[in-house]
C-alpha cells in the first residue's frame, strides 16, 4: 500500500487536503482505509455475535468444573439410541447405563441428578464434540483403546461396562461356533472398532468373509433381519439390545465367542486433571457403594454406620469431596439419587430388563468379575 503521494500535483492535492481536513489528509488515507477495514471487522463480529449469541456456548477451556458450575448443568454426549446404554423413550426421556453415569456426575457436582443435558452424537462426531468442548463428558459406549487415549486428545476415566464383540446368527444355519463362519457375510456398523476386530478375527483364523458396513445401527438390524447377512456383529451387549428389534428374536442366537476386548467407558478432554478425577471417582464411588452394600434405599441409615469405609464414602469422615473440588456429600448424592453400580446395571441391562444380560465380567471383583474400585482413603 505504498502511496506515491508526493507525485500528486499541487492543485488537486490542495483539494484533497481540504476535503479530508488538514495537510496530512492524503497521508492519512491508508490509515483511514485500515481503520475502515478494522471497523468492518468489528461490524462483522457484531453481526456474527447477533446471529449466534443465543446458540453459542462458551466451551471449556481450562477448568471444566468451573464452566460446568457456571452454566449450571453437565453437557453429556450420548449415543443416538442404544437400548440399555443411552436411549430416549417416546416421551423423550433418556435412560441407560451411560445416561446414569451422566446423572451421577450431575449429582456429584450439583447435588442434583437432573442438572444434566444430553447431546446425541454419531460415532463419527463424538470425539470432535468432546475435543471442541461441545460436551463435558463423552459417555457413549466408547471403547477404550490406546490410539484413542493417546492421539485423540482424550482421557478415559474408567470402564463402566466390560464388553466384547460377539456374533449373532440365525438358528436355522446350525452354526455352533464362530469358527464355522468362513464365507459368511457380516453386517455391522461403520466407524467403530467392530469393523477392525472382525477383520482381524477372520484374518487370524484364515477365514473368508464379506463385510457389509452401515452408517447407522437401525439399518444394520433391518438388513440383517431381511436376510442380507448371515451374521450380525457388534458388542455383545449391543447384540442383545438389537435382537429385541428383530422380527422373530427367538430365531436368532448369540454365539459364545467373544473376539475382542471392549472396555466401554466415559472419556473427558485431556489436560484437565480435576475434571478427569471427578468423572473417574464418580464411577468408583458407585462401585465402592455396591461393594460396601450401600444402596439408594439404605444410604440414609448407612450414613450413621460405624464402618469407616462407609463413613469416608458418604463424607462423614475426611475431606475427600473437597479434594476434587466438590462438596463432601458428593458420593452420598450419587447413591441417593442414582444408585450404586449394581442398581444401575440391573435397572438398565440386568436380567429383569428386556436385554436380560447377566453380570458376568461386570460383577464385582469379589464375585469373580472385573469391576474393581480403588479404596477411598
Amino acid at each position: 500500500m505504498r502511496r506515491p503521494a508526493n507525485r500528486i500535483p499541487d492543485a488537486s492535492n490542495a483539494a484533497v487536503a481540504t476535503l479530508l481536513g488538514g495537510r496530512g489528509g492524503k497521508n492519512k488515507q491508508p490509515g483511514k482505509q485500515k481503520r475502515l477495514l478494522f471497523m468492518k471487522r468489528e461490524i462483522l463480529t457484531a453481526a456474527m455475535g447477533v446471529a449466534v449469541a443465543g446458540l453459542m456456548v462458551t466451551g471449556a477451556s481450562a477448568a471444566t468444573l468451573d464452566d460446568v458450575k457456571a452454566k449450571g448443568f453437565v453437557q453429556c454426549g450420548v449415543s443416538q439410541g442404544l437400548p440399555g446404554f443411552s436411549n430416549p423413550d417416546d416421551q423423550g426421556n433418556w435412560s441407560g447405563i451411560d445416561v446414569d453415569l451422566c446423572k451421577a456426575l450431575a449429582a456429584a457436582v450439583f447435588g442434583d441428578a437432573t442438572k444434566v443435558k444430553f447431546t446425541p452424537l454419531s460415532a463419527k462426531e463424538r470425539f470432535t464434540a468432546l475435543q471442541s468442548g461441545e460436551v463435558d463428558l463423552l459417555s457413549r459406549n466408547t471403547t477404550w483403546t490406546m490410539s484413542r487415549d493417546t492421539t485423540l486428545g482424550l482421557n478415559f476415566a474408567g470402564v463402566n461396562y466390560y464388553d466384547g464383540q460377539g456374533f449373532m446368527v440365525r438358528k436355522s444355519l446350525g452354526v455352533k461356533s464362530a469358527l464355522e463362519l468362513s464365507g459368511a457375510s457380516v453386517c455391522t456398523n461403520t466407524g467403530t472398532t467392530t469393523e477392525l476386530n472382525v477383520a482381524d478375527y477372520f484374518r487370524a483364523n484364515k477365514m473368508e468373509y464379506e463385510i457389509v458396513a452401515f452408517e447407522k445401527a437401525d439399518e444394520v438390524v433391518a438388513a440383517y433381519d431381511a436376510g442380507r447377512c448371515d451374521v450380525y456383529t457388534t458388542d455383545q451387549s449391543g447384540l442383545y439390545a438389537q435382537r429385541l428389534k428383530l422380527t422373530n428374536p427367538d430365531e436368532h442366537v448369540v454365539l459364545p465367542e467373544i473376539i475382542s476386548k471392549e472396555p466401554l467407558g466415559p472419556a473427558v478432554r485431556q489436560g484437565d486433571d480435576q475434571w478427569f478425577d471427578i468423572v473417574k471417582w464418580t464411577h468408583f464411588a458407585m462401585v465402592n457403594a455396591e461393594e460396601l452394600g450401600v444402596t439408594k434405599a439404605n444410604v440414609d441409615e448407612m450414613a450413621n454406620s460405624e464402618n469407616p469405609e462407609i463413613k469416608r464414602l458418604l463424607g462423614k469422615e475426611g475431606e475427600f469431596g473437597a479434594a476434587i473440588g466438590l462438596s463432601n456429600d458428593w458420593a452420598y448424592n450419587i447413591i441417593k439419587q442414582v444408585g450404586n453400580y449394581a442398581e444401575v446395571f440391573d435397572a438398565n441391562v440386568g436380567p429383569a430388563t428386556p436385554l436380560a444380560i447377566a453380570r458376568g465380567k461386570n460383577d464385582l471383583w469379589t464375585r469373580g468379575g472385573l469391576q474393581y474400585a480403588p479404596p477411598i482413603r
Binding site: 500500500m1 505504498r2 502511496r3 506515491p4 507525485r7 500528486i8 500535483p9 492543485a11 492535492n13 483539494a15 476535503l19 488515507q29 482505509q33 475502515l36 477495514l37 468492518k40 471487522r41 460415532a123 463419527k124 470425539f127 470432535t128 475435543q131 471442541s132 493417546t150 492421539t151 485423540l152 486428545g153 444355519l173 463362519l181 464365507g183 459368511a184 457375510s185 453386517c187 461403520t190 466407524g191 467403530t192 469393523e195 477392525l196 477383520a199 482381524d200 477372520f202 484374518r203 468373509y209 464379506e210 463385510i211 457389509v212 458396513a213 452401515f214 452408517e215 447407522k216 439399518e219 433391518a222 438388513a223 431381511a226 436376510g227 442380507r228 448371515d230 478432554r269 485431556q270 489436560g271
Partner: protein
Amino acid sequence: MAAVEHASAGGAPKVAIFNDPRIRGAAIQILLVVLIVFLIWGMVSNAATNLARAGIASGFGFLNVTAGFGINISPFVEYSETSSYGRVYLVGLQNTLVVAITGIILATVVGFIVGIARLSTNWVVSKLAYAFVEVMRNIPLLLWIFIWYFSVLRLLPDKAAPIDFGPFGLLNIAGYYAPKAVFGPGAGWIGLALLAGILASIVIYRWARAGLIVGLPLVAYVLTGFPLSFELPTTSRFGPRGGARIYPEFLGLLVALSFYTAAYIAEIVRAGILAISHGQTEASYALGMRRGHTLRLVIIPQAMRVIIPPLTNQYLNLTKNSSLAVAIAYPDLVSVFAGTTLNQTGQAVEVLLMTMLTYLALSLLTSLFMNWFNAKMALVER
C-alpha cells in the same frame, strides 16, 4: 495507485477520492482480499492450535498406514485388510465412479423414455409417465434410497432358495452371481484382437462393424486354444461363492439414484421437445416420415441443444448424490473414506478436504466433458 495520478493529472476538478470508481474498486477488492486472507489465516491458526492442543497428528502420512478393515465391493482395485488408507481412497473413488457412471447411463435411458412417454398421445402412457415424475421427484432421495434398498432386499429370494439361471448364474438376497470370466494363458491375444477389431472398425466403419469386433477376437480365441473359461458360482452353507457379483446395495442405490434423476431428466427432455416448433414435426410428417423416425431424426437432434445444459446439471447432481450411499452400506468415497477412514484416523481436516476436492474435480471434469459435447452437438447442428 497510478490511477489517482492519472485522474488528478487530467485535472478533473474535485473528484473526491471515494468517488473515483477505480480507486473505490481497488479499495473494495483489497478489502475483500485482506478480509479473506484474515479469515483463512484465522481458521488455519485456530485449527493448528486446536490440533496441537488435542495432540492430533496432521499431514497426509496416514495414507500409507495399514487400514485394517474390510471392504466387500471392489471390482477393479485390488484391496485387502492389509492395504493402506491411500488404497481405501482409491476403492472409494472407484465405487463412486462405478455407481455414478452406470447411474448416469440408466438415468438417461429412463429419463428419455419417460420424457417422451409424457408427450405420448396414449392417455394411459402419458399419465403414467406424469405420475412417475411427480412421485419420484417430490420425495427426498435419501428416503428413496431406503425404500428401494429395503424393497430390493424384500423382493429377492432367500439365500437358501436362490433363483438359478443355470449357466447364467444365481440370484438371491446377497446379489446376482454371474459367471466370472477366467483368463488362461494366451488370453491376452483375445484382448489384442478385440482392440484390433475396434480400431479396424473405426478405420473402415462403413461395413461390417460388428463383424470385425466380434470376429477377430473369436478367431484369436480359437487360435490360442480356448484359453477363456467361465467360473460358475458354487454353493456353500452361506450361499453362493465365487463368480462375478452384483450387490444389492449397488442395485438399490443405482435404482434410487437413476429413477430420481430420471424424473428430472424426463422433464428436461419434455421441455426440450416442446421447445421445438411444431412445424418441424408437421414438415417431417409431410415428408412421409413415421413417428419414430420423426422423433429420432428430426426432433431429438434439435431438442438436444436445449436439453444438454440442464442435463449436465443433472449428471453433476447424480454424481454428488451418489454420496448418499453411506446410508445403505455401499462403500463409496464418502462411506469408506470420509466415514470409516476419518473415524479410524481422526484426521478430519485432511480426509474431508481430499473428499471435497475429489468431488469438485469430478464435477469440473463432467462439466468440461459436457461442454465439449455441447459444442460438438451445436457444430453438427449448423
